[in-house]
Symmetry: C2
Subunit: 403 residues, 2 copies
């Protein structure tokens, strides 16, 4: 008999079917016992004559007759069941049958291989997966091509700090902090590219918003007029990502408000000579955007160059603040070889160290720009998770290297 | 004026349009000069009155009138052009305008940021991207969920050898050789999962089929009867991947031939006590599958345990040989906790070293299995590339860490 899934039960009322999944919960009453079975689509109630039910998390097959019962979850239940154990289980370290997981964040993370099974967590990470699919499909529609670029690099050049060192056959190498150089290079091939992949930051601070590794959703496009073209693509991408998650109540208006950096400082009540926005400024901007524009999102453009990377086209970088926290950094990049030489030299850098990156510009690159979205941070802001570790399957940080 | 792309020219015959792209080629004849412009969709011929044309790889905008010309590529050309230079270029290190790239593989790789622009390379990597999209969309249809798992791990346990060491905030850590443990764990959450991501092998041999990092297309599914269920999903995935690339002449019959390991040794002319198939045996099997079954693919199942990893369900592993080379390894895995304890102990391993992996099995896992496809090797076999470095944008190997 073909296995069916829990959410298909109502369509099979009156029939005998086979379910398979985990024993999510056992409820033994005086005259009857219930086994709640969990599969990838939801829960199903099985009415058992005996109180001898397998322990929670045991993997079982259940064959039985589907019967309508208005008070059962989904309006149906399985009766006269025959239960086969596929795999025994010890009781889980955290009770998974409760509607809310009653454990501290460290405990949830230590036991992530099991706690991620909780329906609320499964739905959260399914939403994450749906958001990534929407990121890709929107960019596919816009004529972008997906690329896969190296994660081990020979020089720690992009920012210099916070890189992980790798022993590469006895030579020093580093984990890529972003696909920035490669995605720009690939604009020379495909004009419009994206990459979804891991990035690595040897982040020495232990905060609720930083991880040592995360999933970066990167895009880069050529033949733009300026950074506003990049912002337009980003807004469309975010709109489809939010929709795909099914999370409601997100205020993403048709036109997302944009402030110049100087205006943003003023709105945030910051000193006019600040070179960057601090977390409290971002929070103030988030509140302002909601109050004045009914928007959970606000763009800040025209950052001073001092806090932006050397490849930034002066005056044309932006951040996107989502509910009071920076979610995306982007902008137009330099595209002329001589501008790169000048920018690097002005920062006291040796252009020779960037030779293979600069080769792209030496041999003709169009005006271009792009952005990078942190997947885990997007999901945290979207769902109201206080810590980005809640929205990462198996987070890595200063202290955590397992599971 | 809105930019149009080269392949949209025929639809605009008689109109004045704007193109943008790279100067792919200049041809100066006695009375006329041609500029061939390259954009992400192809080439366009521009008829120029002057012989003063920008150098190859210069980025330009060209406004002109679209005119039918039966002998021009695509049947149209741009006349009376106005050309604006967006970005100057030095002559490329390898001539990109020739139909075939006339340089050695090392030279092509050294100059990859530029040589990947050649139309033949752009098409190759676009096919790769299309194959990945097909991998995902087929598995999405089958109810799989995408996951993102750690690439930095605390223990070099999966195979023990050929791992890259990372300095993780002063502690030893390693780059993941595969998402194997994590994808199995996630079967406990989603039942069916896939991941597309980088894997790292400190491969000490310099061969045409090995890389130090490659893109692995991993899938794992629960509630299977045996490894044949895994093979069925794999065959469907490969069928859609091959179709998506547009590469013709691939023989993938409705039923892919399957040989037991013992039969495979016999067909390959190997000694009956060989524990594994050598490259020459795979080549012989490829020829046999083509001759006897008209198939470019052949499964070999039932490998002896001695050459398979500890998590293998005895007798239920397989390899898929594509045109005489192993492309995919897969199979059913152990799913009972006590079987893992026994398998590890039998190999002289300490189960404690695998505690967070084993937690999933301790708390109930269904029968499951999966497979991993090497993207670059798939593309190499598919297109007849002799070296997997040809089908990797920026390869990493024993000697190469740049670009």
């Amino acid at each position: 008999m073909q296995r069916i899934l829990s959410d298909q039960l109502p369509a099979h009322t009156g029939e005998t079917v086979r379910l398979a999944g985990w024993v999510h919960r056992r409820r033994v009453l005086s005259k009857v016992a219930f086994l709640v079975l969990r599969d990838r689509r939801g829960l199903a109630q099985v009415v058992c004559p005996s109180a001898e039910l397998p322990a929670e998390e045991t993997v079982v097959e259940v064959t039985g007759r589907v019967t309508a019962n208005a008070v059962a979850p989904g309006g149906v239940e399985l009766v006269s069941p025959s239960i086969t154990v596929l795999s025994q289980a010890e009781p889980p370290p955290v009770e998974l049958f409760r509607p809310a997981l009653g454990a501290s964040l460290p405990a949830l993370l230590d036991h992530a291989p099991v706690t991620r099974r909780h329906p609320s967590r499964r739905e959260l990470f399914a939403a994450s997966s749906a958001a990534v699919r929407a990121f890709r499909s929107t960019l596919d529609e816009f004529g972008f091509t997906e690329v896969f670029t190296p994660k081990i690099v020979g020089t720690a050049t992009e920012s210099g700090a916070n890189v992980f060192a790798v022993d590469y056959f006895g030579r020093p190498a580093y984990l890529a902090q972003s696909p920035q150089f490669y995605k720009q290079t690939m604009v020379g091939v495909f004009e419009r590219v994206y990459e979804v992949g891991p990035v690595f930051r040897a982040e020495p601070h232990d905060t609720s918003r930083h991880l040592a590794a995360y999933t970066s959703l990167d895009a880069e496009l050529g033949f733009i007029a300026d950074h506003r073209d990049v912002m337009e693509v980003l807004t469309a991408v975010l709109r489809s990502m939010v929709r795909a998650t099914g999370v409601e109540g997100v205020r993403l208006p048709g036109t997302v408000p944009v402030l110049h950096f100087g205006e943003a400082l003023e709105v945030a009540g910051a000193a006019p000579d600040e070179p960057d926005l601090a977390p409290e400024h971002e929070r103030a901007l988030g509140l302002w955007a909601l109050r004045e524009h009914g928007s959970d999102f606000i763009y800040v453009e025209g950052y001073p160059m001092v806090k932006r990377p050397f490849y930034t086209y002066p005056g044309r970088s932006f951040d996107l603040v989502f509910r009071g926290m920076e979610l995306v950094t982007g902008g137009q990049r330099l595209h002329r070889y001589e501008d790169y030489l000048a920018a690097l030299t002005a920062r006291g850098e040796q252009p020779e160290a960037y030779a293979s990156y600069l080769a792209a510009f030496r041999h003709g690159m169009p005006p271009h720009g792009g952005f990078a979205i942190g997947l885990e941070r997007f999901l945290a802001r979207l769902t109201g998770a206080a810590n980005v570790r809640e929205t990462t399957l198996f987070p890595r940080d200063l202290h955590r290297l397992a599971p």
